[in-house]
């Protein structure tokens, strides 16, 4: 559905996107991850034909986004960052206007708008001015706009930013619904969201792709592995001893009354829980708790996009 080949974008001397390539197959939901300024939005702007690439190419459903821009744009629904809308229009009026622009057949406009309104639960506010709506509703109007012409591909740039947890949940549900028969490329900061929704994750940092895999595989293969937390009655010497075990990167210590909490950061696939337990038993440190914490996508994200890489 999306094919990006050696795409680069420079703003003057600043390289926003540096020679990236990736593919998105039909039916996939791909999470586009990266810190602010990593090049996510720039890539999306190129894909939607808003900006030209400096070099390389991208195509949507086989249509080059620059050479055959109109054809490519017909096939995608785009929700730009911050959801720009005409605040002086009413919700249904805006959606009708957009449906016309996007080439929905004249007789089908009402139907298409009705469906989009239904899908995004906008029935209550369809006659309201967009300027009078809350951010959550505006976000949904943006989504309704993106899908009013029933595109095969949805490109959503941070659809949940600035929403409260309830709104995030409802937008997430909505996107999950939409994704059933569409391809979706979604950029976000919210990592649990990606774990829940996306079939694949592309991590981008400083204009380069750092990883492209399923969330599961990323967790399995990545260096940002787990932690082991031990609460025990032990003196400061325990820190050194724990630190000497193979696979332990570092140890953090926190005093909690009689007990001390040791947090061991581990290498990938290292599991020292048994060894640590035996060590504590040998030294007669009374252990109150020993918890193995698996790496989360957040750990992987931090590891991959840590700026010193």
């Amino acid at each position: 559905m999306i094919s990006v080949k050696n795409l680069s974008k420079k703003y003057g001397s600043f390289t926003a996107v540096n020679d990236i390539s990736f593919e998105v197959e039909k039916g996939e939901i791909v999470g586009f991850l990266g810190p602010n300024g990593a090049g996510k939005s720039t890539t999306m702007k190129i894909l939607t034909g808003y900006l030209p690439p400096t070099s390389g190419s991208a195509s949507i459903a086989g249509f080059d986004v620059f050479e055959k821009s109109i054809e490519a744009r017909r096939r995608l629904g785009y929700l730009p960052e911050n959801t720009p809308l005409y605040l002086d229009m009413r919700v249904n009026e805006y959606l009708r206007y957009r449906a016309h622009l996007k080439g929905v057949a004249r007789g089908k406009v009402s139907e298409a708008v009705g469906e989009a309104i239904e899908l995004c639960s906008l029935r209550d506010v369809e006659k309201k001015m967009i300027g009078a709506l809350s951010k959550g509703y505006r976000q949904r109007v943006g989504l309704a706009d993106a899908l009013v012409h029933d595109p095969d591909l949805l490109i959503l740039d941070e659809p949940t930013i600035g929403l409260d947890p309830n709104q995030i949940r409802s937008v997430r549900e909505l996107i999950k619904n939409l994704a059933q028969r569409r391809t979706v490329l979604i950029s976000t900061h919210i990592l649990p969201e990606v774990e829940i929704m996306c079939s694949r994750v592309v991590v981008i940092h400083k204009g380069k792709i750092r990883a492209s895999d399923t969330a599961e595989n990323l967790l399995k293969n990545h260096r940002a592995a787990g932690q082991l937390r031990i609460e025990a009655k032990a003196g400061p010497e325990a820190r050194e001893e724990f630190g000497r075990m193979t696979g332990v990167k570092d140890v953090q210590v926190e005093q909690d009354g009689e007990f001390t909490t040791f947090t061991l950061r581990l290498d990938a696939n290292a599991d020292v829980s048994e060894e640590a337990f035996r060590l504590a038993a040998d030294r007669k440190w009374n252990v109150r708790e020993l918890v193995r914490k698996r790496a989360t996508l957040e750990d992987v994200f931090v590891e991959l996009t840590h700026s010193d890489i």
């Binding site: 420079k10 400096t54 229009m89 622009l101």
Partner: protein, 255 residues
């Protein structure tokens, strides 16, 4: 065609959504009313060989609002889209850039025409209220309408360019005001050469006479449809729209 229609419809509506539009309509109408009042007064006191249409449109109560209204008409057309970010949703829909530019132009033009409709009714209202036919013929009436339409197209295309070049409305307004004023007052240029060798400045006077709005106005207000200004305004409108299109497209130039 359908896309262009819907884009234009949205532009026209957006004018009438803002209260400023109504303020503009009222003030413009009131000042034109004053211009018309003085025109009738003048013609009653000093009978002249001019139509009331000509005297009305030559009044400062018409000329100044006419100049000032141009930047107000066009300042927001592109600048607002850029400022609000809606340019992104607009240009990522399957619409062509020239369609956007033409829609902006036609939208402002429609509002411009609406702005003039009440003024053109004045000439008839006079007869209704006084029972005396106002002193004008069909020639000056339609001639002046044609010229105002042509000049309006030209000034609007200039304003569209200013708006496309600026992110802030106020800058766009200032820029198009400067361009409008410069163009309008080109007519005054030969006055600076009064007393100089007339042979030497003849070409300038001739040239200004060809392009000056204040040279065209009397001609058309007498009902003379001169084709030269028509070609002049149409071609300049096309030129400015062409430049606007390219400025608007500049974001797509590969860097």
């Amino acid at each position: 065609m359908r896309t262009l229609f819907h884009l234009t419809a949205r532009e026209v509506k957006s004018f009438f959504y803002s209260p400023i539009a109504y303020v503009m309509l009222v003030i413009f109408l009131a000042l034109n009313g004053v211009a018309f009042y003085y025109a009738v007064q003048t013609l009653t006191k000093i009978p002249a060989d001019e139509s009331v249409v000509f005297v009305t449109f030559f009044s400062p109560f018409f000329v100044w609002p006419f100049i000032l209204i141009m930047p107000l008409l066009t300042m927001r057309v592109f600048a607002d889209e850029f400022r609000m970010g809606t340019i992104e949703s607009l240009t990522t829909a399957p619409v062509k850039d020239w369609q956007v530019v033409m829609a902006k132009f036609f939208g402002a033009l429609v509002f411009y025409i609406v702005l003039f409709i009440p003024t053109y009714c004045y000439f008839f209202f006079y007869k209704w209220f006084t029972g005396i036919p106002a002193a004008f013929a069909a020639g000056p009436y339609w001639g002046s309408a044609l010229l105002l339409l042509l000049a309006g197209m030209f000034f609007i295309s200039m304003g569209c360019l200013a708006s496309a070049l600026n992110r802030e409305q106020i800058n766009a307004a200032a820029m198009s005001l400067v361009m409008t004023v410069l163009f309008i007052f080109l007519a005054a240029l030969p006055d600076f050469f009064v007393g100089k060798n007339e042979e030497e400045t003849k070409w300038l006077t001739h040239f200004i006479g060809y392009i000056s709005f204040f040279e065209h106005l009397p001609t058309f207000c007498r009902g003379i449809i001169d084709t030269r200004p028509i070609v002049f305004y149409l071609s300049l409108t096309a030129l400015f729209l062409f430049i606007t299109h390219h400025v608007f497209q500049a974001r797509k130039w590969k860097s």
